[in-house]
């Protein structure tokens, strides 16, 4: 037999100045099951809370209705009182007669009448409420890093430790990413692959890091602290691994805009027109040659290829363009090196000096517009318009194009798999431009490196370490998190296996049991949103603490 206690808080004068508390109590005390109906001056105060606890114990109350302020304010407060008093916290209903009644109803009679209905409705509801258990799970401190380039490698090394495992997933067969193709980097013109090689060796030697090459991320379910991810090997077709991780870091890099899309640059039509990346590869081991095998005597480097189309400055191409001419001049001082640029972007402490050195070595910098590259009689003709508006022409043996940096073709797909937003340029969007620059739009999924936006190697490392830092600070091994109590449950005998609930679940929390031909909710991933319950025609999907009976009884009482 239910023994319901109703406690009406006066909230100082907030509630009592509008609602006639005595009247309210008189009307609700006759509701079925109510054995106690009392006012209290300030229920949330320490005295109020002890009083409530005492009353529950003394009157052996089984269910509680507290008529007071908003649940956002004190739901947890009164649930804790219930726990201390020995009754299940889900057998308590907090009715908001302050924000939703006293504070918004002008006429005291109407306010009292409304409050009476609200409290009686809550009494009807609470009678049908069931005890529920709060559940905690330990967060998984382990991390999934997607992308084995510089960002992924640095983040993995920062994160991995005896109490934290890192899985590093890389699409290709080897680690190192774009930097593998750079025989030298600015401003020191040294081979970065030496250092990269030793970082990779450290990575492989670290017992807390597992490297999965030729693998891709296929699915991310769950939430921060408790993700379930699926990795599929592209090698052995169909081989998939399910991993439990607490956070995911996407460090999948970027690529160069395809200059073939702009006919005027001659890429793919005119011989000896290369992209910056192609030149890097060619210059490894000093293999700089024209297509006929001879040495070029002159090289033009064209900046901002695709910048107008993309609408942003990629920030790093001017510097690597200058790197090319610096290299050429260092190796073959007699080569003519000319840059055709629209704006020069050389920020940072060392970069201006790098540019000046190159100019001192004889590199020419020409501000140009309207660039057109075409095959000439002897070599390549570049027609352009000078800064003063006059047309001009340059004849060179080789053209290097510096295209914009843009997201990989499958960045959109990966964002879909990780369920994160893209920014308007198509890179993974930052959670906040200033305060969340290594976090994505989804809590627990982080981003680092060029996948988030074009950047150079030092900036990449910085962002990777920042992302790692965010993860280290929040995913503390041994920390516990509470999972949603008010989850969905599918009653097997009503389920007809139509999978409509699965189609509408935004969290991927429902799976289909092939043997029993019914849908099943994963209570750890379920957030209790209610979509499944609304979509199910048979009423098989039921949300705990918002069952049909509870809501129906509440409404019936409210409109009587």
């Amino acid at each position: 037999m239910a023994r319901i206690g109703v406690f009406v808080c006066e909230c100082g004068s907030n509630i009592s100045e509008k609602i006639d508390i005595a009247q309210l109590i008189k009307h609700v005390s006759t509701a079925p099951g109510v054995v106690v109906a009392e006012p209290y001056r300030l229920m949330c105060s320490p005295d109020g809370r002890s009083y409530l606890e005492e009353r529950i114990k003394k009157e052996k109350l089984t269910h509680i209705v507290v008529a007071a302020c908003s649940p956002r304010e004190h739901q947890q407060t009164f649930m804790k009182v219930c726990e201390r008093a020995g009754i299940n916290p889900y057998l308590m209903q907090l009715v908001n007669i302050r924000e939703q009644c006293a504070w918004v109803t002008m006429d005291p009679n109407e306010a009292t009448e409304k409050a009476t209905r609200m409290v009686k409705a809550a009494i009807a509801r609470v009678r049908h409420q069931a005890p529920l258990q709060r559940r905690e799970i330990a967060v998984t401190p382990d991390v999934l890093v997607v992308g084995g380039g510089v960002a992924g490698i640095e983040a993995s090394l920062t994160l991995a430790g005896p109490r934290r495992k890192v899985w590093l997933v890389e699409r290709s067969a080897g680690l190192g990413g774009s930097v593998n193709s750079f025989p030298r980097t600015y401003p020191d013109m040294q081979d970065p692959r030496v250092g990269l090689g030793s970082r990779i060796a450290q990575l492989k030697a670290n017992p807390s890091i597992e490297i999965l090459t030729e693998s891709q991320l296929e699915q991310v379910l769950g939430f921060f602290g408790n993700f379930q991810v699926r990795i599929r090997s592209t090698r052995e077709a169909g081989q998939a691994r399910e991993l439990k991780v607490g956070a995911v870091l996407l460090a999948t890099g970027a690529k160069l805009y395809d200059p073939a899309k702009i006919r005027g640059y001659g890429y793919g039509q005119v011989d000896n027109v290369l992209t910056s990346m192609e030149f890097e590869v060619m210059s490894d081991g000093d293999g700089v040659r024209l297509s006929d095998g001879s040495m070029p005597t002159s090289v033009a480097i064209i900046h901002c290829v695709g910048r107008e189309v993309k609408g942003y400055c990629s920030g790093i191409c001017c510097m690597h363009a200058l790197k090319h001419s610096t290299y050429l001049k260092q190796r073959w001082p007699n080569i003519r090196t000319v840059h055709l640029y629209s704006d020069l972007c050389v920020p940072g402490k060392a970069n201006q000096a790098f540019l000046e050195n190159d100019v001192r070595a004889g590199t020419e910098l020409i501000r140009a517009a309207g660039i057109r590259v075409a095959k000439g009689e002897q070599n390549i003709n570049i027609d352009f318009v000078r800064e003063d508006g006059a047309p001009d022409r340059l004849g060179v043996d080789m053209v290097i194009l510096a295209p914009a940096v843009e997201p990989h073709a499958d960045a959109t797909e990966l964002a879909g798999i990780a369920d994160i937003a893209l920014d308007k340029e198509g890179f993974f969007a930052r959670h906040h431009e200033i305060l969340g620059s290594s976090s994505s739009s989804r809590e627990g999924v982080f981003v680092a490196g060029c996948a988030q936006g074009p950047k150079d190697i030092p900036e990449t490392v910085m962002q990777a370490q920042a992302a790692a830092g965010m993860i280290l600070a929040s995913l503390v091994p041994g920390k516990k998190m509470e999972i949603e109590t008010m989850t969905s449950h599918i009653i097997e005998s009503y389920c007809q296996g139509c999978k409509t609930c699965i189609s509408v679940c935004p969290f991927g929390a429902i799976t289909f049991d092939e043997r029993r031909k019914v849908a099943v909710v994963n209570e750890v991933i379920c957030r209790g949103c209610g979509n499944c319950s609304a979509a199910c025609p048979s009423g098989a999907a039921v949300i705990k603490h918002s069952t049909y009976d509870q809501i129906y009884q509440e409404i019936v009482e409210a409109v009587k």
Partner: protein, 354 residues
């Protein structure tokens, strides 16, 4: 049609067929699952009545998964459409089924047929030969999908040339079966298209005026309750409906059973309470649940013991609801049901502002 089925069985292209036949005892018809060629010879591919909606029959067979054998199923377009909708809801598994439809002249009312079978059969033969709507059910008279091709094969009866009908393949499965049987792809479908369009246009026109008339008859709570006044809450309409697939109907569950005090309270407030209550809630609720999948097959109206034009009422509501979503149930497996399609901007014209 029978010839096609017999050949398919004899050549081992199908392992069994499910086709309407006269039941052995009595006058009724039902879909029979058989591989006996002798029985198939006696089939009625287009029976005068729709007894059990064959979408339901096919769901009975394949709800738990495809069977081990290949079955050819002969069905009217509305049954085909119901079957496809059920497949979208995992209640039918199509992999080992070959669905064969034909142009449909309509069906007779089950009640009339059971009273006087011989008479009704001759009426149906006339309807079949002349393809006119005089004797067929009201819901069939206004059917604008009677020639729909949405299965694997479709027999274009209206395109009859001398002694042959064009056979139209609508899928790789259909094409494979046709060529294995040695039938050429219908080279000339122009006649069929023309005749089929004529029928569709005629019935669409009829549909428009029928909608106006029916709406006038049932619009507003009083008229609606009036037309439903004889309803005895038997829920037959729900039971025979092919797209009502719930294991237990919401309206049969505990959720609609209330304590006596609730009923007494309602009776007090309204002055009187009809028993059992919530009859209108059942119909409107069912309309909300299946309105977007309703294929206007008329099974509900055939099954109603109180002769309520329930399939017409559902078709009226379903038409507008389906049009709002630009959804034609059963047209193609590639059309997802509106309930599971999310669009950020939708029905903006119906939004209220400020």
């Amino acid at each position: 049609m029978v010839h096609l089925l017999r050949m398919a069985l004899e050549k081992g292209l199908l392992d069994a067929v499910m086709v309407p036949m006269r039941v052995p005892a009595g006058d009724g018809f039902a879909h029979m699952l058989t591989r006996e060629v002798a029985l198939v010879e006696q089939a009625w591919p287009i029976p005068p009545v729709i007894s059990v909606q064959s979408g339901k029959a096919v769901a009975n067979l394949t709800r738990r998964g495809k069977g081990a054998i290949r079955v050819g199923v002969v069905m009217r377009p509305c049954e085909m459409r119901a079957t496809l909708e059920l497949a979208k809801l995992e209640q039918v598994h199509l992999e080992n089924l070959t669905l064969i439809s034909m142009d449909c002249p309509g069906a007779l009312a089950l009640r009339d047929f059971s009273k006087s079978p011989a008479n009704e059969i001759s009426k149906f033969e006339r309807a079949l030969n002349e393809w006119e709507e005089r004797d067929i059910r009201p819901i069939c008279q206004v059917c604008d999908h009677s020639n729909m091709v949405s299965g694997d094969l479709h027999l274009g009866i209206l395109g009859k040339q001398e002694d042959s009908f064009p056979l139209i393949a609508n899928s790789a499965k259909g094409e494979a079966l046709m060529s294995a049987l040695g039938f050429d792809q219908a080279t000339e479908t122009a006649t069929w298209e023309r005749e089929a369009d004529k029928v569709t246009e005629r019935r669409s026109l009829a549909r428009q005026s029928w909608k106006v008339d029916l709406k006038a008859r049932i619009e507003g709570p009083d008229r609606l309750l009036g037309i439903l006044s004889n309803c005895i809450n038997c829920h037959n309409c729900m039971r025979v409906c092919p797209v009502c697939y719930c294991r237990q109907c919401y309206f049969d569950s505990e959720k609609v059973k209330h304590p006596a005090d609730d009923y007494l309270e309602q009776a007090k407030r309204k002055g009187a309470l009809r028993f059992p209550p919530d009859m209108l809630l059942f119909h409107i609720g069912r309309m909300t649940h299946i309105g977007l999948t309703c294929v206007s097959c008329g099974a509900c109206e055939d099954a109603c013991p109180a002769s309520i034009p329930i399939s017409q009422m559902f078709a009226l509501a379903a038409d507008d609801a389906q049009k709002a979503f630009d959804y034609v149930p059963g047209r193609s497996m590639r059309d997802p049901q509106p309930l599971v399609v999310y669009k950020e901007k939708e029905f903006e014209e119906d939004e209220t502002h400020g």
